[in-house]
């Protein structure tokens, strides 16, 4: 999954550095708050550990071998922010000293493997493990799912990043300048082996490591546990995720045609040769304020972004109002979980 230089355009590389920067900033702040000076050797050693285990060949059924990234186990023992720094450093060493993974593409690689992967692994692990005892089997399952899912989400991010290249960067005659496969080829080509093999390796190794730590060294497993009274669930990752989705909305422009079943009257005319009478009567009932997600006076892409932001803002406002109406007096006295 280490993207080498030459697969992504410099523009995409710059965008990925910019996307990773706020997470690096946040991670360094969080690590300084929680671990202080002790952080330096701890993060250095965990990043060295993650570097070393990437070299281990893990035997798979059928005689093949694969290797783990270690992003999930790093998130489980250090928390997502510590893991972000540790894995970023391991990736920087690979790119700078071993030529594995590009230097311009470092931002993209770090975004996929050092930011998305630990965050997905951490929230999956916390959601499944919840408050179960450290030695419970539920945590082994949580580790397995966290490893499998986080690697696959990271692989999907990589596939989208390089699958976008042929749409955005090509010569006048259409020859792609960077990675040549479009999203409909890049995503299955990347996801099938990750869903079936590489993700399995990450899941199995994470689960086995959790089992090992349960038996041999529970304090390490307890290191990143949310302390009593402090909620492990903050809403901000949700907002970051929503922001990422808003930024990705112009992807919709790349799809040709209309989503199945969402045809307008004029499209139905083309498809069926006629417009059902009932529909014809209803179609003028509600004139959309932003038809086809276009904002008057703005270009197509900014229009999409603004439409997405307005849509999410409206949905959030409606949910907030419903939540307020449904909240019974006294409900606030319940302890926060």
């Amino acid at each position: 999954m280490h993207i080498p230089d030459g697969y992504l355009s410099p523009a995409t590389c710059a965008v990925m550095y910019a996307a990773a920067a706020p997470f690096w900033y946040r991670a360094s702040r969080r690590v300084r708050e929680t671990l202080s000076h002790r952080a330096v050797p701890l993060l250095a050693l965990v990043s060295a550990f993650s570097f070393v285990i990437m070299m281990f060949n893990v035997p798979l059924p059928g005689g093949t071998t694969g290797h783990a990234v270690g992003g999930a186990i790093a998130a489980i023992v250090l928390g997502p922010w510590g893991a972000t720094i540790a894995i970023s450093i391991a990736l920087a060493i690979q790119a700078l000293f071993f030529g594995d993974g590009g230097i311009l593409a470092f931002g993209a690689n770090a975004f996929n493997m050092a930011i998305v992967m630990p965050l997905v692994a951490w929230y999956t692990y916390r959601a499944i493990a919840s408050r179960s005892p450290l030695a419970s089997r539920r945590r082994v399952l949580a580790g397995a799912v966290a490893g499998w899912l986080s690697l696959n989400v990271a692989a999907l991010c990589a596939a989208v990043e390089f699958g976008l290249q042929p749409y955005l960067f090509h010569t006048a005659d259409g020859t792609p300048l960077y990675q040549p496969y479009t999203l409909e080829v890049a995503i299955p080509a990347m996801m099938i082996p990750h869903l079936l093999a590489a993700g399995m390796v990450e899941g199995v190794i994470t689960a086995l490591l959790v089992t090992y730590l349960q038996r041999a060294n529970q304090p390490i497993l307890a290191l990143a546990e949310p302390t009593a009274g402090v909620t492990g669930w903050r809403l901000w990752p949700l907002w970051v995720g929503l922001a990422a989705l808003v930024i990705l909305t112009p992807l919709g422009l790349l799809a040709s045609g209309t989503a199945w079943g969402e045809w307008g009257a004029d499209e139905l005319q083309g498809l069926l040769g006629f417009v059902p009478q009932g529909l014809e009567g209803l179609s003028g009932l509600w004139p959309a304020p932003l038809p086809d997600y276009a904002v008057p006076g703005l270009g197509v892409v900014p229009g999409y972004l603004v439409s997405a932001a307005i849509g999410i803002g409206l949905a959030a406002a409606v949910l907030l109002v419903i939540g307020r109406l449904l909240a019974r007096p006294g409900a606030g006295a319940r302890p926060q979980v």
Binding site: P4, D5, G6, Y7, S9, C13, S28, H37, R38, V40, P41, L42, L43, A44, L45, V46, S47, A48, F49, F51, V52, I53, M55, F56, N57, V58, P59, P61, G63, T64, T65, H67, V77, I85, I89, I93, A95, L96, F97, F98, G99, D100, G102, I103, T175, P176, L177, Y178, Q179, P180, Y181, P193, A197, V204, I205, L208, Y212, A216, N217, I220
Partner: protein
Amino acid sequence: MTMLRRGDFLAGSLAAVGQALEGTLFAEEIGCRPGLLQGLDPRVKIGTFLLLLIAVNLSRSLAVLAALYLLTLLLAWSSRVPLGFFVRRVWIFIPLFTGLIALPAILNIFTPGQPVLVLWSNPLIAVTAQGLRTAAFLLLRVGTSVSFAVLLILTTPWNALLEALGALGVPEAFLLTLAMSYRYIYLLLHTASDMFLSRRSRLVGRLDAAEGRRWLAAAMGALLDRSFQLSNEVYLAMLSQGFRGRPRLMEGFRTRGRDWLWGGVSLFVALGAIYLGS
């Protein structure tokens, strides 16, 4: 992912670990040889290589990409990097994966265009001119980018690289962690290598995959355990040596005439490549 004989994951892991150790030792040795790139101020070298790398990745012309690749060979030769080793390191190990990716792109299935070689007539499967150009772009761009990165790595000792990154504004805390991590990678690689060797020397017959995975997880767990212990020891050692939370890196670089000359030449080459390749 590599195909190995069942039970040979121990040998595979040992080989990977050994290769990493050996590769960096060789790089350190080349980095200390007298040569063109070794004699440059590392700050200037990093800055100019970044510029050249951007030029490689911005170019829209195959001829310009080929010229930049030839430049890496010339630089390797004038920096006493063995050419055979340099070309092998770039073209055999690293873009093996890229070659596999580039290959299907030459066919009309993925890149429609002017057929130049018909492989199958009904349905038409042919190599297209556009497909060949697409594959050539990817291979040449990746190969040249990797060549520049490998040249930088081979001709710059790691401590000089770190100090230069510090001088160029990368946060010191990040570099201190990176330096420490790099140093302990060797210790952990040695520990891992010893574990694989001792397990392998006690192996009679074959190890089945499930047993192998369990052993591997225990080895990784032990390594993680060791990493945590070491981090505590290192922290205490840092405190006892007077660490007060502000890392300091040594820095003794001097920019000389040849650095300015090199900087000027590479700026000219990079801008020329961007202009000619646009």
